[in-house]
């Protein structure tokens, strides 16, 4: 039994090994990129839209709404990063129902790479919005005594992001594999359905947490907005 697609070697040439993780990641990336390229070739503004354009618009407005609700900011700058994270994880987890495809999220290397992307994006967005000095001052709040804890918190939440996604997806695959040897036919299918649900929820949670971390680096700006938040009326989006 294996813990994820990392140990499934498809093709080996010397020391370089082509693992199932790599192949499946490129499959998802190719699917997303080609799909987006093909669909955006023929966008229209008329009254009759193609069904694929409807799909894209539902996705983009949905992601925008969620970003707006979580961060209380305009979604424009965050949409590319957070939306890509969500779509990539969601499509990888959805494709798990295709036989022979194992979600790349079941490998700790993929989830670590995604978590490191979030780890790098948080200071980048923070500095881009407030400047380096104002951003670095966040580490000294509420007092300079908290500096080590702030740094440790930043590191540990990155580890938590990676292990949470990996553990959830890997456990789903593993439980199906164990059940296949105990009670074949019906019960593994139910667990796989549960795995689909878990995969979607985990994709959503990963994106929302990334957004929360990025937005919390702007707590100074948010504090000034907090006074008029009730008048903004948050519940008309939902």
């Amino acid at each position: 039994m294996t813990l994820g697609p990392d140990s499934e070697v498809i093709w080996r040439w010397g020391d370089a090994a082509l693992t199932a993780t790599l192949v499946d990641t490129w499959l998802v990336m190719g699917l997303l990129t080609l799909g987006a390229w093909w669909l955006t070739r023929r966008l229209s503004e008329g009254p009759s839209l193609s069904r694929w354009q409807h799909l894209l618009e539902v996705l983009v407005t949905g992601i925008d709404d969620q970003i707006r609700q979580v961060s209380h900011q305009e979604p424009g700058r965050y949409r590319p990063f957070v939306g890509t994270l969500f779509l990539f994880i969601a499509v990888s987890n959805l494709l798990e129902v295709v036989p022979g495809f194992t979600s790349p999220m079941g490998s700790l290397s993929t989830t670590t790479a995604l978590a490191i992307c979030v780890f790098v994006a948080v200071p980048l967005y923070g500095i881009a919005r407030e400047g380096p000095v104002a951003y670095l001052r966040h580490y000294l709040t509420p007092s300079w005594l908290m500096l080590p804890f702030n740094v440790i918190g930043e590191l540990s939440r990155t580890v938590a992001l990676a292990v949470r996604l990996y553990g959830n997806i890997m456990s789903g695959t593993l439980i199906v594999a164990i059940l296949l040897s105990l009670t074949p036919y019906v019960f593994p299918v139910l667990m796989q359905l549960l795995g689909l649900l878990t995969g979607m929820i985990q994709a959503y949670i990963f994106a929302v947490l990334a957004m929360v971390y990025i937005a919390s680096a702007a707590s100074a700006q948010r504090a000034s907005r907090r006074g008029r938040r009730p008048t903004d009326g948050g519940n008309d989006h939902g």
Binding site: T2, R164, N168, I205, V208, N235, G238
Partner: protein, 91 residues
Amino acid sequence: MDSLTLIGMVSVVTAGLTISIGCIGPALAEGRAVAQALMAIAQQPDEAATLTRTLFVGLAMIESTAIYCFVVSMILIFANPFWDHVAATGG
């Protein structure tokens, strides 16, 4: 008892202990979180969307502690580094 048997025995027992103790806390916490969220939704049905979103994110945070225990126990059973080391050196 040679060291390989000992390592295997300790690993299996520890994996069982890890997952059993590690599940109790998150299970209680998730039950409490869901109960509170249901009560809040019952009192303020208008805020159901916000409450549900916060509940899901909170549940994921709580559940990750159980997932850590699960990952540790899986490593102990299927990818135990001490077992691999002893098996490789033939000790």
